[in-house]
């Protein structure tokens, strides 16, 4: 590629910069004079223009005119005019203005100081850093393709004047935030350096310049043209395809037709820029293809409607992606799985996420509830079990003769007459079988003989005799004898229970027992008490069993 082609093939754009120093216009304080002018390659031969003409700048400076700088106020008609006659030159309105101002204050154009133009008095005062910065920005904005933002970036990077930019290498410019190669080169070109141009670009630039210039000469509303040209350049630098517009401008000038297309383009670019900004903030994961397709068509201003609708579609896809990402894990939540599946299916089948909004919100809410409750359950289930300590239970004293080792089981209870040892009642927990009967008689016999003949029998006390694996407990009263045959170990409560039963029985039926005629049915209370004793002792046995367990 023909980089670094001829230098200054085009007529020096610089020429026009070298305008004659003009008095600062009071009306536009914000305009700063550029520092050093470009070396006025050719002093503009233009005749100074009468002030009245000032407002309508005849030239069309193709520069990206900073909107903030009102052109009308520019004093330098003088210089602008000159170019018109020259024809070929493209005029850099703002630059000229700036220069003009600057000249007025300080011909040397040192960037540092400037006269305060306010009030038109042109009195000098010290410049604050902010003002210096602002002035530098304004100066840089006089370069085509440099708007306020870029000018700020340049100033931040240390470039205070167009001259410094002219001196900078392309590489240095590329260091500036937001400066790509294309823009950097465009700026260099606009500033009058042609060395860096490719041939074809040079053509482009020059033809563009010419085009603008021609119109500038003819148009009365050159101020508006300024803006139009600036925008056209800005747009092409930004990569928008505005050839049609440029062609139309060339062919028709600022015809109604052109202006119409221009405004449409302006609006389209505004919309596209908006999309660009939004897109820059988005997570495009998973929709890269769509995004690439969209980005690749974004320079085509004519397709703005399609761009907008594709962008809307893209946003919808992103929403679907986000919702899926959010909902898919919720399939794990049992209580929500069905509903989540339903929503995912609907999304899959192309239902607009907006329509599912309420349902999704409800699912979110219920997920939160589920989260809370399951966490609480978990926390509680993990909690340490409470230590259990039981109250002490009454136990038999270990060394007592009555200490039980095995629970006491009652086999038979007998009530005998104290007088003649006749059997009054017998209750048992055993089945009455032939074999058992024999056993019962054996027990009865043993008890009787102990009571009647054994000297060890102690009346009034609980007598304990052993036979085989059984024990007989015998307690006597005034009229009767109570005997209980048990297995296992004698319960500590046995004596108490037996005494009590005997006492209760004799209290009611004692005399009847004394004069008993042998009919058991005549002593019903005695029998009832015996049964009660049997149950009570059975319960003793149960308790003993439990304690043992």
């Amino acid at each position: 590629m023909g980089l670094f082609g001829r230098k200054k093939k085009k007529k020096d754009k610089k020429e026009k910069k070298a305008g004659p120093p003009l008095p600062l216009q009071p009306s536009q304080p914000q305009r700063q004079g550029g520092p050093t002018q470009q070396p006025p390659a050719r002093p503009p031969p233009q005749p100074p223009i009468p002030p009245e003409t000032a407002p309508s700048r005849p030239e069309k400076p193709p520069t990206a005119a900073p909107p903030e700088t009102p052109l009308e106020g520019a004093p330098p008609e003088t210089e602008t005019k000159p170019e018109a006659p020259e024809g070929g030159k493209e005029a850099e309105g703002p630059v000229e203005n700036a220069e003009a101002e600057e000249k007025e204050e300080a011909p040397a154009g040192g960037g540092e100081k400037r006269t305060e133009a306010a009030g038109g008095e042109g009195e000098e005062r010290a410049e604050t850093p902010e003002e210096a910065r602002e002035r530098a920005i304004q100066r840089l904005m006089s370069i085509k393709g440099i708007g306020r933002k870029r000018a700020e970036k340049l100033v931040d990077a240390g470039f205070m004047s167009p001259e410094e930019i002219a001196d900078a290498t392309l590489e240095e410019l590329l260091q500036v935030d937001g400066f790509g190669e294309k823009l950097a080169r465009a700026v260099k070109i606009n500033i009058g350096e042609t060395e860096l141009l490719w041939d074809d670009e040079l053509e482009e630039v020059s033809s563009f310049d010419e085009k603008v210039e021609t119109q500038a000469v003819s148009g009365e509303e050159a101020g508006a043209d300024d803006e139009i040209s600036a925008k056209l350049l800005q747009w092409s630098v930004d990569g928008y395809r505005v050839e049609n517009l440029e062609r139309l401008l060339k062919e028709e000038g600022r015809s109604e037709n052109f202006m119409d297309l221009f405004r449409k383009t302006e609006e389209a670019i505004r919309r596209i820029e908006e999309i660009k900004n939004q897109l820059a903030e988005m997570n495009v994961l998973g929709v890269e293809d769509e995004v690439n397709a969209l980005v690749s068509m974004m320079n085509d201003v004519a397709r703005v409607d399609e761009i907008v609708s594709r962008f809307e579609e893209l946003k919808r896809k992103m929403r679907v992606r986000d919702i899926k990402h959010e909902l898919e894990p919720l399939l794990e939540v049992e209580s929500l799985a069905d509903r989540v599946r339903g929503v995912l299916e609907k999304l899959e089948s192309g239902v607009d996420p907006d329509e599912l909004d309420v349902e999704i919100k409800d699912i979110r809410r219920e997920y939160k509830e589920d989260f809370f409750l399951s966490q609480l359950r978990e926390t509680i289930e993990k909690a340490k079990p409470m230590e259990v300590k039981r109250a002490p239970v009454l136990r038999a004293v270990a060394d007592s003769p009555l200490a039980e080792k095995k629970p006491m089981q009652v086999e038979d209870i007998f009530l005998l007459s104290r007088k003649d040892y006749r059997l009054i009642h017998h209750v048992t927990q055993r089945k009455v079988t032939e074999e058992n009967r024999k056993e019962v008689f054996g027990e009865l016999k043993a008890i009787r003989s102990f009571v009647r003949h054994n000297e060890k029998f102690r009346p009034g006390d609980l007598n304990i005799i052993k036979f085989g694996d059984k024990i007989a407990l015998i307690q006597d009263g005034q009229y009767s004898l109570l005997a209980m045959v048990v297995k296992g170990d004698v319960n500590i409560w046995a004596k108490k229970l037996m005494s009590r039963v005997l006492q209760m029985t004799e209290a009611e039926e004692g005399p009847a027992i004394a004069s008993w005629d042998g009919d058991p049915s005549k002593l019903p209370v005695s029998r009832k008490n015996l049964v009660a004793l049997l149950y009570a002792t059975l319960r003793l046995g149960e308790i003993g069993n439990k304690q043992k367990a």
Partner: protein, 237 residues
């Protein structure tokens, strides 16, 4: 460092001006009253309107009624939950029942700390601006206090550390005139809103009074409280 005086609006018409804009953020407020004084509905409406209008996140912890019955009741009052993402109703009574059934042996469950712990996790994950606890008495029933005053004190402190605005429903026992069962809730809290029913010839009217609200200059008058399709309103003379 003084925090900005941020307030949680009650969205009870007429009450927010009385409270200088609402309940100060992160306050613990007792909402007291005998049975049937709409304590649940009033607190739910605060959560509901904050969720709906300000996207503020709320939790309604119920230990009394089931979630279903609350939701149905509130829908009837004009506060359906549909599409309201930021009002979660947690049915602790249900959890309690499940756990009691599942439990083969008695466990010493530290409900207070468990609830606070889970609230903390929940808040970190989903955020929570306002918490309603329905009710204190039911919470006490879950817990065997060895030293109620000390334990309650710590509970309130932990609640405060959570950094949520808490509305604690406290039913006033019919036989006593205290704001909480242990008699210390009122001074542990930053504010007390008292709801009461006053019998008249024509029927019963509901009144709301702000008994206490720190950092706020408020009237202590009891104001008639009117409920109308999801909105509450206090009437001032």
């Amino acid at each position: 460092m003084e925090l900005k005086d941020e307030r949680i609006k009650t969205y009870i018409d007429g009450l927010d001006p009385v409270l200088e804009g609402g309940i100060p953020k992160n306050f613990i407020v007792l909402v007291c009253g005998h049975a049937g004084t709409m304590k649940s509905s009033v607190t739910y409406s605060i959560l509901y309107n904050n969720a709906k209008r300000e996207n503020k996140k709320g939790i309604y912890l119920t230990l009394e009624q089931s979630k279903q019955s609350i939701i149905e009741h509130m829908a009837k009052l004009g506060m359906p939950p549909t599409g309201i993402e930021n009002l979660a109703v947690m049915d602790l009574a249900r959890v309690r029942k499940d756990i009691m059934e599942k439990q083969t042996e008695k466990k010493n469950i530290d409900w207070l700390n468990s609830i606070i712990g889970v609230l903390k996790n929940y808040k970190e994950r989903f955020g929570c601006d306002i918490l309603v606890l329905d009710s204190l008495a039911a919470l006490y029933a879950l817990t065997t206090f060895k030293n109620p005053r000390a334990e309650l004190f710590y509970f309130f402190e932990k609640l405060r550390d959570l950094g949520v605005t808490a509305l604690l429903i406290s039913e006033i026992p019919t036989d006593r005139n205290v704001y909480g069962l242990y008699g210390i809730e009122d001074f542990l809290s930053d504010g007390i809103i008292h709801l009461k029913v006053v019998q008249t010839d024509a029927g019963a009217n509901l009144y709301l009074g702000v008994v206490k609200m720190r950092k706020t200059k408020h009237t202590r008058d009891f104001m008639p409280l009117i409920a109308e399709s999801g909105r509450f309103e206090v009437v001032r003379d």
